[in-house]
Structure formats: C-alpha cells, structure tokens
C-alpha cells in the first residue's frame, strides 16, 4: 500500500508546488489559436463596483464602415465625458490573458519516478458584431428626443429618448438605421423601462483624418443599479445564434448570471497529443458540445482569476494602467509603478470571463448578473501528456509501458466525449493500434508467480 501512496503523494506535491506560484518553469508560452474561431461574436468588458459601471464594447466589424451602426439601450443620458474610445490592444490583451489554454506535461523516466512538467497553451480570440446601418439625414420629432449628440473619436454618437417605440422605429429608419422587423416590441419594452438609446455610427471624415483602418472599442461610463447586458435587440433579426464574450472586472469576486445557468466548462482533462495542432477546432467543438448539453441555455465560465497572477499564463496579467483604461477606477493610484522591476500589480481586481451563445428562442430575457464573494480560481485548461520515450529497463518501465495504451484509449474517449468527434477517427489519428502491447502477465499469473 505504502509503495503506491508515496509516488502519488510526490506527484501531487510536485503539482501543487508548481501551481502555487507563477514560475517560468510552470508556464511558458508557445503559441495560440489566434484565429476567428467563432462567427458573429462580440466582446464586452464590464468594470463595475458600487453601481459605477464602465462598459467597453469591441467589434471586429468586417464590412464597409459606412454600414456600421450600433444601437445600445443605456440606463441614463450620457454626457460627452462619459463616452470614450478604448484601446483595442488592451482588450486583446485581456482576451489573451483569459483564453482557454493548452498545457503540456512530459512523463519522466518511470525508473526515476518523477514528473517534470512543461506547459504550453493556446489562446483564442473573438470578434464583434454590428447591428444596423446608418445614413442620417434630418432631425425629426416623432416623439423622439435627441438628448445629446457628440463626436467622439471616429464615432458620431446620439443619445435618444422617445415617447413610444413606433416613433423611435420610424425615426431610426428615416435616419438610415436599418431596424430589423420585430425590433419594435423590444424597443417598446426598453422604453417602458425608462432606458435611453445610445446610437453610434462611424464619422467617415474623422476616420480618414485619424488614419484608422479598423473600428476602435467604444466605452461608456455610468452609474446604475442595473447590472445587466441588453441582448434582445441583437436577437431580433439574427439568423442563428450569436457569440458573446463578457469580461468582468470587479473588486469582490466572480460574476455570474442570475437568470440563466452559469456553467463551468470541463477543465483539466487529458487529451491526445495531436490536439496541439488543432486546439482551435478542439475548443470550438468542445464549446458547441457543452452548449448542447445545457440545452442551449447555458452561460459558460471560461476564466475566473485574481488579476494579480496566473498559472499558467496565457499572457501576462494586465497592468494597473491597462486596467484603468478598461474602467477599473477603484485601484489606489498612489505609487503605481511600485515594486521596482516586477510588473506593477493590479490590486483588488477579479476577472470573470463568460462565454455565451445566444438566440431569441433560448435567451428570451436580457442577461442579468450578480457579483458573488467567490474568489476561487477557475480556468479552462486542457492537458497534453507526452509519454516517456526512453529505453531504460526496469520493472517500473514495464508497468509504465503497460498502462500507456490504456491511457491513450482513455484520452481518445475523453476527446470524443468533449468534442463529439468520431472515436474511430480519433483512434486512427492517434494510431493507438500501433502502440505496442507489452505482454504483461495475467493477474492469475502474478498471483501464484509460477
């Protein structure tokens, strides 16, 4: 008994010691699946504390910018100072930092019974939507009030309020915003709930002047007890489901949806080595599989971590400066470039990354959130375990070889379950059949040792 327990403990302690600190040994960055894995995806970062909220809305709008327009219900009329242009690089950094990751471990020579580890990971990226088209021509009443009108960066921004939705819809249509059929009911509901509308489109002249080729994220800051994200307008005319990544920066702890199930993705599973080259495909199919498992009604937790560190790090934690850019206003600014050479640590910032695939049928209501006091860490992390390939001979090595084939089979099954891929194909790609079956003694042969 003891003989079994000791190596187990050694390995556990090894793992623990390794994950206890973000050492370079534990995580080093190899590559990432930097492709647009998910179609029709948008990214939103929400920094929130005490009802004070900063929302960063990023989009990776691919079409002609003339066609771009965005209509967002907001709880209050916003001043010009409450609207800001964000840095896309920071949002990208946030996405990389929190991305699902792939980790590699290498089996050590079993004759020495130690595991050495190396980590690698991949990261993922996403993109963003646009809702309507814009071609403004005249101010019109129709019960619609233009509460404010600003030029912020490359965007023309209007804050609208309205008496009734039909008027608002007509106004938007007349001003060149393509409002999808059926949006009227949703607009009506928002108006009754006293929401205003934040409407943005690209000012082509400014865009050319600024020399920009892409659209930068828009940020709004406001104070409201409502902790929600309006998604209903986006579902009105969508053909098929849309992807949304939401990054929460909070002081207390993890954020979850209160009107939908927030589900942790399966993590820390060992999968076949060949996934390394197709991690993007793997993750996308895994996600789809999980969405199905939750009957398309789940919101998925991809990352929950204190901003101070990471292990393994898919990207370095964000600096205090970057976080401020994303709206984290509650950090002490005194002595910001502290701690000499090490990177300035973010304080009291907890990051939650949620990923949701939504459509009108399964997500009838806007997403509503709460911040919990849960500060436990979570990451969507998947493991590649390289076998030991040495040729030493010892009883332990034989035993090791014997369990390898079984291990591969288990990895194949895990992969099939996680992604829905064909198990036969997986076995073929892994070439399990070629793994030598070291002829071990049968249990009864070992029993009487004759």
């Amino acid at each position: 008994m003891r003989r079994i327990v000791v190596p187990m403990l050694t390995m556990l302690i090894g793992l623990y010691a390794c994950s206890g600190e973000a050492s370079a040994f534990c995580g080093f960055y190899v590559g990432k699946a930097d492709t647009k894995l998910f179609n029709k995806a948008s990214e939103v970062a929400i920094a929130r504390h005490d009802n004070k909220t900063v929302i960063t809305m990023a989009n990776d709008f691919k079409g002609d910018v003339k066609e771009f327009a965005m209509v967002v219900p907001v709880p209050t009329v916003l001043d010009k100072e409450q609207i800001h242009i964000g840095d896309p690089a920071v949002l990208k950094h946030l996405a990389d930092y929190s991305a699902p990751r792939l980790v590699e471990y290498f089996d050590e020579n079993p004759c020495r019974r130690y595991d050495m580890m190396q980590d690698r990971m991949g990261a993922m990226k996403s993109m963003a939507p646009a809702s309507a088209e814009a071609k403004r021509e005249r101010d019109q009443v129709l019960g619609v009030t233009v509460e404010a009108q600003y030029l912020v960066g490359e965007y023309d921004i209007l804050i609208l309020s309205a008496k009734e939705s039909a008027g608002l819809e007509t106004w938007l249509t007349e001003n060149g915003y393509k409002i999808p059929n059926g949006a009227s009911a949703v607009l009506h509901s928002y108006l009754k709930q006293n929401l205003k509308f934040f409407v943005a489109k690209v000012n082509l002249g400014e865009q050319t002047k600024l020399g920009l080729t892409h659209l930068r994220p828009l940020q709004i800051a406001f104070e409201s007890p409502k902790f929600m994200l309006p998604i209903r307008l986006g579902t009105v005319n969508a053909d098929g489901a849309q992807e949304l990544f939401i990054y929460f920066l909070t002081k207390q702890g993890r954020v979850e949806t209160i009107n939908y199930r927030t589900v942790r993705l399966p993590e820390a599973q060992e999968i076949p080595l060949y996934v390394k080259d197709k991690f993007g495909d793997f993750y996308r199919d895994l996600f789809t599989q999980q969405v199905k498992r939750e009957s398309e009604r789940g919101v998925f937790l991809e990352y929950a971590w204190d901003m101070n560190w990471c292990d393994p790090c898919a990207a370095n934690p964000l600096s205090a400066e970057e976080l401020r850019g994303l709206g984290v206003f509650w950090q002490d600014s005194l002595g910001s470039p502290q701690r000499g050479r090490s990177m300035p640590m973010a304080q009291n910032v907890f990051l939650t990354r949620l990923h949701v695939r939504y459509d009108a049928a399964h997500f009838p209501e806007d997403l509503t959130f709460q911040e919990t006091s849960d500060r436990s860490n979570f990451q969507a992390r998947y493991i590649l375990r390289h076998p030991w390939t040495g040729t030493d001979e010892c009883p332990a090595a034989t035993a090791y070889q014997q369990q390898l084939r079984e291990r591969y089979e288990k990895e194949a099954q895990t992969l099939a379950t996680l992604t829905g891929w064909n198990i036969g194909e997986i076995r073929k790609t892994m070439n399990i059949a070629a793994v030598p079956t070291v002829e071990g003694k049968k249990w009864y042969q070992q029993l009487w040792a004759n």
């Binding site: 009911a185 509901s189 979850e256 209160i258 009107n259 199930r261 009838p364 209501e365 849960d374 436990s376």
Partner: protein, 291 residues
Amino acid sequence: MNFNRLTSQLSTLDPRLYQIASLSTLLLYGVIWLHFDISVIQIAVTLATALLTQYVGKRFYNLPAFDPKSPLISALSLSLLLRTNHLEVAALAAAVAIGSKFVIRWKDKHVFNPTNLALVVMIGGGLGWISPGQWGQVAWFGFLVACLGSLVVTRAARADVTLAFLTFYIGLLFARAVRLGDPLTIPFHQIESGALLIFSFFMISDPKTTPDSRTGRIIYALLVTLAALYVQFGFFRPNGPLWGLIACAPFVPLIDRLLPAVRYDWSRPTTGQPSVPVPLVLSLHPQRRFS
C-alpha cells in the same frame, strides 16, 4: 382500494417527512447532475450544525423532545441555496437559522423563518451568495411536480399562503410583461427558478412564522409579493422574495393581533379556524380528522 389505503396512510405522516424527501432528492440531483457549487463536506457541516443547535436549544430552554425534522429542512434548504467558500460560513448560517428560532420570539412564536433569516444575514454580510439561475428546466419542473404533489398527499393545512403567494407573484410578473409588451416567454423564464420554489413551498409556507388566520396569511402573501417585486424591479437586486419575506416578517404579530386564530402545531395541522375541519386544499380525500 390499495391506493386509497396507501394515500390515507401517507397522509397521516408528518408533512415534513415529504419535504425532507423532496429536498434531499433535489439536493442530490443538484450536486450530481447540475454540479452545484457545494461540497459534500459543506452539506454535512450544515446538517450537523443545524441538528446540534436544535439539540442545544432544546436543552437550554428545557423544552421536551428533540425533533430533527425542522432543523433538517432548514439545513437542506440552506444547502440548496447558500453558496460559500468557507465551511465556517456554512456552519454559522445553520447556527443562525436554528438559533434564531429560540432567540427571536414574539408571543411564543418565532418571528423569522430560520432559513430566510440565515440567508439574508449571510448575503447581507457578504459571506456567501445565492445562485438563483443554476437550476435548469428539468430540475425546476421535476421539483415543481414534487412540491405540488406533496401538497396533495399531505394536504398541508397551510398551502393557502403558498398558493396565494405564487398567484400574486406570477400574476404580477405576467402583468408586467403585458404592460411592457414583452413576449410571455419572459415571465415564464423568470419563474423558472428553483429558489422561487423553495421559497414558496418551504419558507413562506412555514406555519410557525405565518399569521394564524387564513385571511391574515393571504394578506401576508400579498405584502411579501409586493416587497419582493419592488426589490427586483425597483432596486434591481436579485433574490427579491427573500428580502421581501424578511421585511414583512415583523408584520406577522400585528396581523395576528388584528386577525386572531389558533396557533399551529405540527402534530395537529390546522388552518387556524377553531373547531372547524380543515378545508382540504388540493385534497384527494374529502374527509379527514385531525386530533
């Protein structure tokens, strides 16, 4: 025949046994299938602390007969709803819940529903949280059936407050949807919360903390509904019913004073009307005597 005999036998059992059975099943399903964020140890700590507090309370106040049923129900409800990363918090919640029954009393009746009070204290203090969205349709629907079924089988004498609350609450949610022009999938989605069911069938229905008279209970259900909806749509806070119930609990002595009736006893379930047989809400059997 056999069925009738079975139901009549079942209906003589303490209704709390059904409650314990359905709560345990739900908890098991939640932990195994829905991956509730609660460890087995935390459940054990909650149960043990609740039972211990009940035992100590009974001894301290020299009360007869230790009965584990009520503390078990409180502990199971807490395990289903309260989430925390610290075992101490789970223990504290159970102790607050059961302890409050002995300490916070008014005219020989405890004022707050034990689970409700513990939850509000823990959440208010930032020690834990409730995840109201974690149920999913299957669990919710199954649990709804179990809850309604237990009303039928046990002919719970105080089902009126549950039904009144659900009627007011769901009715007003639908009214809101109609006013906003929302599709009815929205209110349907809003009531699809296991927390709401636990609240309606196990907290607000607690005969020890609701008014003694039926009229009183219906008025009480309305008050709680209004408070709950105000928390939800006025303050934009989650867990409206919990806050609503805690806010309205102090009105119970007042309602009892205005509309007096017979005090409840678990061994003799009554609706509160003296010497009148129980009007059997959702009953299978037309007659039954309580004595």
